[in-house]
């Protein structure tokens, strides 16, 4: 052991993360080759070996620290990854200090979307941590004069055959040291050794920063406070694409407390910086911005644009994704239409950023604090906005108060840049709730028709899914406005078509699709197009079972090929779980089922029990059953939390969610106009996870949503006879259905 007085050296290990890329959406960059301009793209590429993102450090006192290799927005990936590091280094996960990086700390951080945070990072992180462990073991062995093989593992260190414990704190001495991967000894990952009993991985653990959250200490972007800070906000465009024609500041420049009125027509921006939030609100109220008015639209217009039957009546749809010569004029066993509305992200945290310009080494630099799903795209775009090199822009990544795909673009940071550079004090920019709804990249409405032909025994022979949707993937997340129209014309939207190919073994299939350009913001929403497509398909399959009077689970299993054994297992387990809870026969209750596969990897089967409350003419969601197989599960409780969260979002979509169109545009501006699920909608949960250490981990943040929506619609159908062809359910229609039933 070293004497306590000796100067210790900090030992730092640069982790490496080599990931498979963002495969969940099947996206390639082919579309961008050869373009004449080079806008900043979303950070699609995961860091490679040299660029290392996850820094694992052992401090002087033996504390293990890691920078999260994912943006954290409640999906819990950082906990699962911390459990892996804990497993490799023989420490308790609660003792690992996990923090979010800034653009100065790491060279690359992949945009956190597609539920790929854990699956992309797990193995490289495990191997990095294992290498570190063996390096530490060798240094410990040197200290005690033994061979490294002679040292066993101990908590936070190693043990000699005689029982002497050498802790990390004993081993780590001297100054800061960074070790390259090539200099580390060979190591075997404990996490990915299937035969090894796990200590940290696979166990229930407290969420990273959980204690800070319950004590109010966790700091989100909105909570950042700097000395002498001011408050700023831009004026949002009333509709997508509107341009500023004129600004009348109403004399606010001389209003007490107003620091600066910023009008930049070239950038289509107008905003104000003020001393306090209320002065800012009052000043913005007084300023008038005149916008040009792109044509207004009605609900009827949008319904007609999206209507799949209208589209089909004009001939085949724009993109034929699969075609096995399905005879279109035959008699179908099931022919079902499903329409979905505009869905908003409706997060509780509003977009916010704090910005501070200062001087460093004789150059002007800027620091930005923001909660985002893509730290580097914000850094690069902010730099481009300022005409600066990126090394002059630092983005501090903050925990995101709910992302769900809506926080991956350059928006509030832009406002902060345009306002902050005009004043010589820090500025906090917080969007209003109205701003949030106005600028939201909504999940576009879609309309589906699924036709299935099956024999009397339930064998599906023909499958025809035609659908029309607004764009999901082709928005400013990928491209600036200039290139967008062309890409939209040349290619079908790959976000809208996700999950549209049936996983059932079907003799002949036809999948066709049209994407339409909508006059409002659209974009990435949890699970992209997979939920609408899955709902259309699985509601039709359940209808098939009903039509043929067959058991819906058996019918599904019967139509799955041998390559779908994992899904069959999920369905079989679901059947067993449900069988243990028989439904009362006399009441108006029903059970509905669905199966889904997310990104071709995560398998899930779900069911709901639903009852109809006659007294208040309402649906009650009693129970949710879920069997989920995402491969190797590192953090089961976090996986369950994601299932519960997806379920609540599905319930919201079925019962209440949908942005109305009124007065020429989307007219949801807050939670009064756009209700979401509340605590009285929450069902009981029965969740079973299938974890197999020999199967690669896959995403869990969206998988359950895809199955929950159809399972719930199917349960309502079973309980009431109401088909819910259009979401959210129409309460009058539901009551009418019940009254007809008698």
């Amino acid at each position: 052991m070293k004497p306590a007085t000796q100067k210790k050296r900090r030992f730092t290990r640069r982790g490496f993360l080599k990931a498979a890329g963002w495969t969940a959406a099947g996206l390639t960059v082919t579309y961008f080759v050869g373009r004449e301009f080079a806008p900043v793209m979303a950070s699609m590429r995961a860091p490679d070996f040299e660029e290392g993102t996850a820094w694992i450090k052992v401090d002087l006192d033996g504390t293990v620290r890691m920078l999260s290799p994912v943006h954290e927005m409640g999906q819990g990936s950082s906990l699962g990854l911390a459990q892996i590091v804990a497993e490799e280094l023989n420490v308790d996960v609660e003792d690992i200090q996990v923090s979010l990086p800034s653009t100065n700390d790491v060279t690359r951080l992949q945009v956190t979307v597609g539920s790929s945070g854990t699956s992309n990072n797990a193995r490289p992180l495990a191997e990095a941590a294992a290498g570190l462990r063996e390096e530490l073991r060798q240094r410990a062995a040197k200290q005690v004069g033994l061979d490294a093989h002679a040292l066993g593992d101990a908590k936070g260190g190693f043990t000699t055959p005689e029982g002497q414990v050498v802790t990390f704190a004993d081993i780590v001495t001297g100054t800061n040291e960074v070790i390259d991967l090539g200099d580390l000894p060979d190591a075997t990952s404990y996490t990915f050794d299937p035969g090894r009993e796990k200590v940290q991985v696979g166990k229930t653990a407290l969420q990273v920063q959980g204690r800070d959250i319950v004590t109010g200490k966790e700091v989100y972007a909105l909570d950042v406070r700097l000395p002498n800070m001011t408050y700023g906000r831009g004026v949002p465009a009333p509709v997508a694409g509107a341009q500023i024609v004129d600004v009348d500041d109403g004399g606010v420049s001389s209003m007490p407390g107003v620091i600066k009125v910023v009008v930049d027509k070239e950038r289509n921006f107008a905003g104000i910086v003020a001393e306090t939030p209320s002065v800012l609100d009052a000043a913005l109220e007084q300023m008038t911005v005149q916008w040009d008015s792109p044509s207004s639209y009605t609900q009827k217009d949008i319904d007609a644009m999206i209507d799949v039957d209208i589209a089909l009546s004009a001939g085949e749809l724009e993109s034929i994704l699969e075609n096995d010569d399905v005879a279109q004029d035959q008699v179908w066993t099931v022919d079902r239409r499903q329409d979905l509305p505009i869905v908003e992200h409706a997060t509780i945290e509003r977009r916010s950023a704090v910005i501070q310009f200062s001087e460093r080494d004789g150059r002007e630099v800027v620091e930005i604090w923001a909660g985002t799903q893509d730290m580097f795209v914000n850094q690069k775009k902010a730099a481009a906005e300022l005409g600066w090199s990126t090394d002059r822009v630092t983005v501090h990544l903050m925990r995101v108060g709910g992302g769900f795909g809506g926080r991956a673009t350059y928006d509030v940071v832009r406002d902060a840049v345009l306002l902050g550079r005009e004043v010589d004090r820090p500025v906090k920019v917080v969007w209003s709730l109205r701003d949030e709804f106005l600028a939201d990249r909504t999940r576009p409405p879609s309309s589906h028709r699924v036709r299935i032909k099956a024999d009397d025994d339930g064998k599906i022979t023909e499958w025809w899914h035609a659908f029309v949707s607004g764009h999901v993937m082709f928005n400013d997340f990928l491209l600036p406005e200039g290139g967008l129209s062309l890409v939209r014309k040349l290619f079908h939207d790959i976000g809208a078509t996700i999950g549209s190919h049936p996983f059932y073994t079907v003799d002949r299939r036809r999948i066709e699709f049209t994407d339409v350009e909508l006059p409002f913001h659209v974009g990435q929403w949890r699970s992209l197009g997979a939920t609408p497509n899955s709902l259309a398909a699985e509601a039709a399959v359940e209808e098939l079972a009903r039509t043929l009077n067959l058991d819906p689970i058996s019918l599904r299993i019967q139509n799955l090929g041998p390559e779908q054994d994992r899904l069959k297992t999920c369905l079989t387990k679901l059947k067993t779980i449900c069988a243990a809870r028989p439904l009362p026969e006399d009441a108006e209750v029903g059970r509905g089922y669905a199966a889904a596969i997310f990104a071709e990897q995560t398998h899930v089967a779900m069911a709901f029990d639903v009852s109809y409350e006659k007294e208040n003419e309402q649906i009650r969601i009693d129970r949710c059953y879920c069997v989920l197989d995402p491969g190797f599960v590192f953090s089961p409780d976090q996986v369950k939390a994601q299932i519960e969260g997806c379920t609540m979002m599905a319930i919201g979509q079925v019962l209440v969610e949908g942005a109305p169109i009124d007065d020429g545009s989307i007219s949801a501006y807050g939670f009064f106009d756009y209700p979401i699920a509340t605590i009285d909608h929450a069902p009981e949960f029965e969740i079973e996870l299938i974890s197999d250490p020999s199967v690669a981990p896959s995403g869990v943040g969206e998988a359950a949503l895809i199955a929950a929506l159809p399972a719930l619609v199917n349960a309502i159908r079973a309980a009431t006879g109401y088909r819910a062809n259009k979401l959210p359910i129409d309460e009058d229609d539901l009551v009418a259905t019940m009254n007809t039933k008698g």
Partner: protein
């Protein structure tokens, strides 16, 4: 203007007299635990206690509560750092996901248990249904409230 927050008295500059309680707590006094959500009293993220009762701090002017005792999530645990049973239950049930609404949920729940130490499901729903959570942590919120209720009653009995 002066405010009594978490047992201490604070001066608030004159220039902040027109601000909501939430803004003064967060921006002037540094109690950022109560969150700005909808800003219209719809979501509950800003919930604090005023004289022990849950209140939406985004919809109250600071100047109107000068003589009241205000408690934020930062002041819910005891002075020695022991968590309030509701906070502890939140950890035990691992309620939070993104965590943004949770301070408001916890303050609403703590006020409920002050009023009704042993709430049934319907009482919990009635008291909590105006506190929104987009991550959908509701089932765990319900469990945590029941868990905290039990702990508080056991303590009281002993």
């Amino acid at each position: 203007m002066r405010l009594f927050v978490n047992g201490s008295e604070f001066d608030v500059p004159d220039s902040w007299q027109d601000e909501t309680l939430l803004m003064v707590l967060r921006e002037q006094l540094g109690f950022v635990g109560p969150k700005l959500g909808c800003g219209q009293g719809e979501c509950g993220a800003c919930t604090v206690h005023i004289n022990g009762e849950a209140a939406r701090s985004c919809s109250i002017y600071a100047i109107d509560v000068q003589s009241d005792s205000i408690t934020t999530i930062e002041g819910l645990a005891s002075a020695d750092g022991v968590l309030h049973p509701v906070q502890q239950a939140w950890l035990d049930e691992r309620v939070a996901q993104c965590g943004y609404c949770q301070a408001g949920q916890i303050m609403q729940a703590a006020a409920l248990l002050n009023e009704e130490p042993n709430p049934d499901d319907q009482t919990i729903i009635d008291h909590m249904s105006n506190n929104l959570c987009r991550c959908g942590t509701y089932k765990r919120i319900n469990l945590a409230i029941k868990n905290a209720s039990q702990v508080m009653q056991t303590r009281k009995a002993s």
